[in-house]
């Protein structure tokens, strides 16, 4: 049996930095609290290089590094980082537990050991790219794997447990303060030194905590993992540290969400077929948008661009205070392209173009025209294009007649001169002049049983100066509806 412990480096700090857009490149330090006596508990390498050290008060730290950003630990950011760590662990094995904050342990039973180095490298690189660098320790039990992770750079595999444990400092056991004092008084500075003392003698000297301390020093751990089941709902949410009015911080967080959710989906052999984005606003309002994808995907880039294209067009009444994202899972599409059915070469790219067109023209102004089931004129709705084009149905239809209409939307109000009830002169802002020839009238009506009942009288006219038009008499007056072109 072997286990892998995946431990995030400087976890509270890394969790915070990966979700704040302007923190990754800045020197940052974590404070122990908000009181005046709060001290620095952890600092980035750039802050440490500038002289910031654990135990300094905020003024002391700022005196060392003027650009220092001081932050408190963020439970929300740490939850999100833990979820990411777990999603990465599931890509190694479904038997994974969250051992502690920033630490996951994975049972590698049944894994092909020859492929493990490659998989560890993949997981490490993926997490590093998402702002969460990790160390991975591999050992016969979870405890030694955890010790190994502390010493890994970035992966350490332990074959000979006693020789690995012997030189390790006793601080690794995280003893209680009184035990630490006693260990120091006895000159026991390494785990090897502890285990040279017989277990019973050690227990007599250290009391009730003795056996457990000795077992930890010997690397004994036979506890079963508390396995976490992969989620059934793929969601991420966070309150922002401060209300945001610009797009960049939101996109930064959303990118992290998308990366984590795609990892979780992939671990469950699933893909996202839709997204739900919710933005909470400072005025207690909410902006919610659902996105349907043409095909299920785990491509984080595709999912992110869907959100980015939408958010580029959104203007909210108040700053954004929090956001959440949910991915709807589906089985990935497994199909072979059909030589004779023209589908899309890249459905996501096509729908991305449509989303961009919608961002330019308006989401209700782009699509495939579909005539509604009514005789009302100009009853056209726009539908989403399909991935595959159906076979032509034109051959079954009778041949079309006449010139197509080019509509004026809205129709132009017209002044019409009648002679013997026939239009003989038309004046509109678009076209005016004597009527040379005409056909009509055609009287049509519909929806008489509804409040929006309509009735009209249509004429097709040819002006003396040229041009064929549709002239309409409605209860509201004459309208020039369009030009036959």
């Amino acid at each position: 049996m072997s286990f892998a412990a995946i431990e995030a480096v400087d976890f509270p700090l890394a969790a915070l930095r990966r979700l704040e857009a302007f923190l990754p490149d800045a020197p940052v330090a974590l404070l122990s609290g908000e009181s005046r006596k709060a001290v620095v508990t952890m600092a980035t390498e750039s802050a440490r290089t500038a002289g910031v050290a654990a135990g300094m008060t905020a003024p002391q730290a700022l005196a060392e590094c003027a650009d220092l950003r001081l932050r408190l630990r963020s439970p929300a950011a740490e939850r999100e980082a833990d979820a990411l760590l777990l999603a990465a662990a599931w890509s190694l094995s479904p038997r994974a537990e969250t051992t502690a904050a920033g630490l996951c342990t994975v049972d590698l039973a049944g894994r092909d050991s020859a492929r493990l180095p490659e998989d560890f490298a993949r997981v490490g690189a993926a997490l590093e790219q998402q702002g969460l660098p990790v160390r991975i320790g591999v050992a016969p039990n979870p405890l030694v794997a955890r010790y190994a992770a502390r010493r890994a750079q970035p992966v350490l595999r332990i074959e000979n447990v006693p020789s690995f444990l012997a030189p390790l400092p006793v601080a690794l056991l995280e003893p209680a303060p009184e035990d630490a004092e006693l260990l120091a008084a006895l000159g026991l500075s390494t785990l090897g030194a502890v285990t040279t003392i017989p277990r019973a003698a050690f227990a007599r000297r250290f009391g009730g905590r003795g056996p457990s301390l000795w077992a930890r020093a010997a690397g004994e751990d036979d506890r079963p993992l508390v396995v976490v089941q992969p989620p059934e709902r793929f969601a991420a949410a966070m309150d922002l540290p401060q209300p945001e009015e610009t797009l960049e911080p939101l996109l930064f967080v959303l990118r992290r969400f998308v990366d984590r959710l795609t990892l979780e989906l992939a671990a469950g052999s699933l893909a996202a077929v839709g997204l739900r984005l919710q933005l909470r606003l400072e005025d207690d309002q909410e902006h919610r948008r659902d996105f349907s994808l043409p095909e299920p995907t785990t491509d984080a880039g595709v999912l992110f661009r869907v959100l980015e294209n939408h958010l580029a067009t959104v203007q909210t009444e108040a700053p954004v205070t929090g956001l959440s994202l949910e991915a709807w899972p589906a089985r990935p599409v497994a199909r072979q392209d059909d030589l004779f059915r023209p589908g899309l070469r890249d459905a996501h790219l096509f729908f991305e173009t449509l989303a961009r067109l919608a961002a330019v023209a308006g989401s209700d102004r782009v699509g495939v025209p579909r005539h509604e089931d009514t005789h009302r004129p100009d009853a056209v709705a726009l539908a989403a294009p399909s991935v595959e084009l159906p076979a032509s149905m034109r051959t079954a239809a009778p041949p079309a007649r006449g010139l197509p209409l080019r509509r004026y939307r809205p129709p132009l109000a017209a002044t019409v001169e009648l002679t013997a009830n026939l239009p003989t002169y038309v004046a509109t802002p678009g076209a005016s002049g004597p009527v040379k020839d005409r056909r009509g009238p055609w009287r049509i009506s519909g929806d008489w049983w509804r409040p929006e009942a309509w009735a009209r009288e249509e004429w097709d006219i040819e002006l003396a100066a040229g041009g064929l038009y549709r002239l309409v008499r409605t209860p509201g007056g004459w309208l020039l509806e369009g030009e036959y072109a």
Partner: protein, 220 residues
Amino acid sequence: MPDRHEQLAALRRLLAERCPPTPRRPDAVVPTGIAAVDRLLQGGLRRGSITEIVVAARSGGGQLLLDALIEAADEARHRLLLIDATDAFDFEPAAGASDFLPQLVWVRCPTLDAVWRAADLGVRDAHFTVVVVDIRGVATRELRRTPPGVWYRLQRAAGESGVAAVVQSDVVTVPCAQARLLLNRSFTLDALAAERTELRQNLGIELQRQRLNQAEEVAG
């Protein structure tokens, strides 16, 4: 001494011998479905370039040509993007005909700026075989304010994606159009009763410009 025309012809023959033209890809043109237009354009709309259709006459058949392009897209099962500057496209299916046009993506642009941006996006996506930018009805003074760079950018994008771009306008507008057709004859009222296939053959159409690329000129 041979005159310039003979020298030019000799040079062309020499070039044709030394540099045989690349055989034209069978899909290098997109047929419009109107025989007269395809004849004038030597097969149809050139992929990767802009064809401008200037509808100079009232009821000159611009919409009829667009209808033919949509029908051709349906038959060839490719996609057509219509960028409609004045929201003028009308869809009234005849009795028995399909009540939707799956091959057509219609963009109803609210502003002229949206037209240029939508055209730029559409022409870059090779999922569309034909992109029609319909700017008929846009005031000439507004079009004059359009920087010429818009058209060159569109041409360049079409060249890269291989999309056949079509611009329908009331007056000559596109300086870099590879081909320009002029529809200069109005239909009369009798046209409203005739079959569309017959009307397509009676378009008053004139080829104003046809720029072939070097390989095509040599082949010609």
